[in-house]
Amino acid sequence: MREEATLQKILFYLFAVFFIVTIGFPFFWQILNSFKMEKDIFALTWFPRSYTTDNYLKAFTTRPLLSYLGNSFIIAAVATICSLSIGSMAAYAIARTPIKGKTSFLILVMSISLLPPIVIISPIYGIVRTMGLLNSYSGLIIVNVLFTLTIVIWFLTPYLHAVPMELEEAAQIDGASPAQAFGKIVIPLLGPGVFTVGILAFIQIWNEYLFALVLNPIRIKTVTVGLKMYESDNYMPWGTIMAAAVVIVIPLITLVLVLQKRIIGSLMTGGIKE
């Protein structure tokens, strides 16, 4: 028995090392190379004598990285807030009101969450163009609301089931309308759930590429579309690209590390992304 335990321990730590190295290496390599001079990248020197922050300077000056970041932030933040407000209302209706057609609605939500974006991209492009919202914030925000609404509804419905009905009933006996009960009793109790799913939605929008590419190819580019802009046909400024990539990823990694417990918990209870 003891031998088995020791063997398990060795196995575990071997695995842990392998796991951390394979997962961490590409990320480590990206950061390391973002500080290298081009000659050291070309010379395949792992740890050069001197490092430079030039790549970061170039990342911000050769392309408008700051405005890419700003655009992505505005789009992700506004779309997340819209999605949370609209989605929590729908989740509330499903979980706590006696409306008809709940099953059909949930089937619809499920279908949309499984729907490949390519199926709807051309009509959406048409709609957004007709609305005059190509290369704007609003167009991309609406589309991202669509794709995050489904996560919000899936995530919040069970959450709302768990809020005791008595609380709301008590409020209604005291003369509150359903809308007031929703605002004063349910919303505050939803706090933590809304926060967690909000983070998941924000990450998904920040990382979205397809619609950002199609709807905003000229103005209001997001970070994911912007990163591709550093590439040119005959020259890849690798140091600069790696630096820009690090800048794009930092907000996410920070968010994830600070909120790891919540994110892991929500992923493990089945909040499936993508």
Partner: protein, 299 residues
């Protein structure tokens, strides 16, 4: 002012969501299916000519379509199969009661949180034919005798795309499996052990059957998201060399926005919808379970 009843308020709450679904999902789906029966090209203006199934019969003879379908299926099957196997192994190891396992769970989040386009560029840089670290490491350890232009050969380009997807997603799958593992009661294992079942028997007769629902859910979502692969290809190979790594989504995108052929593009998109429905039909139990779960009151 008359106050609303609960039921009325419930319907009111659904309106914004339903409007968004209707305008930006339901209408577009039908619009795409509808346009797949028309000749409709950007070059010939807004004229749509009904041509019945002509686009579909063209598709059946389109070798570029079959090439894209083949690559997409290959990518989907290999990534999902390998990710599930690795996910099972990783989760088992992550579940061992040793110090540092919490840290492993945090490490898992890194590839998950990185945008696909960024991880695509990271990989493109690592497998560069002249100064890629991948070549350098393999060369140093004597696995290859000269640097390989990974992304300029059909099969190695496919391999790298698959590897990069596995790197990004297998850790996440392992987290899902781990969640499933933790719901299996310890008492089951103890009882089996008393009955004389060894670790392998215990795994195949207790662990795997009880993980089935979790695995089925993971496989469903992974199949569907692997099948729509696009972004990582844009970063790594842009479909090349030739059309070797052009996925169905990428071919559809190019038909729509590079060739301006909205009719045939819609046909390709409708085909993607059809395959997605087929995949979903294979997993009706999972979907039913999720929907019942959404209706029942449980957290």
């Amino acid at each position: 002012m008359k106050t609303l009843t609960r039921k009325q308020f419930g319907y009111l709450c659904m309106i914004p969501t339903l409007l968004i679904f209707l305008i930006f999902a339901i209408y577009p789906v039908f619009r795409t299916i509808f346009l797949s029966f028309f000749r409709f090209r950007l070059q010939t203006g807004p004229v749509k000519t009904f041509i019945g199934l002509d686009n579909y019969s063209f598709m059946m003879g389109d070798s570029r379509f079959f090439n894209a379908l083949f690559f997409t299926l290959l990518f989907t099957v290999l990534t999902v199969a390998i990710e599930v196997v690795l996910g099972l192994v990783f989760a088992q190891l992550m579940n061992l009661p040793f110090k540092g396992r919490g840290f492993l769970r945090v490490v898992v989040l890194i590839p998950w949180a990185i945008p696909t386009i960024v991880s695509g560029f990271m990989w493109k840089f690592m497998v560069h034919d002249q100064y890629g670290v991948f070549n350098q490491i393999l060369f140093t350890f004597g696995c290859i005798d000269k640097f390989i232009p990974w992304l300029s050969q059909d099969n190695t380009a496919r391999l790298i795309l698959i590897l990069s997807d596995i790197w990004k997603t297998a850790p996440y799958v392992s987290l899902l499996v781990l969640a499933g593992l933790q719901t299996i009661p310890k008492a089951l294992y103890e009882a089996a052990q008393i009955d004389g079942a060894g670790p392998i028997r215990r795994y195949f007769f207790i662990t795997l059957p009880l993980l089935k629902p979790v695995l089925a859910t993971a496989v469903l979502f992974r199949l569907i998201s692997s099948f729509k692969v696009f972004t990582v290809i844009v970063a790594l190979t842009n479909g090349g060399p030739g059309y070797a790594t052009e996925s169905l989504t990428m071919y559809t995108m190019r038909t729509y926005f590079d060739a301006g052929n909205y009719g045939y593009g819609s046909t390709l998109a409708t085909f993607t919808l059809f395959i997605t429905c087929l995949i979903a039909l294979l997993f009706t139990d999972v979907i039913k379970g999720k929907i019942d779960g959404g209706k029942r009151s449980k957290l």
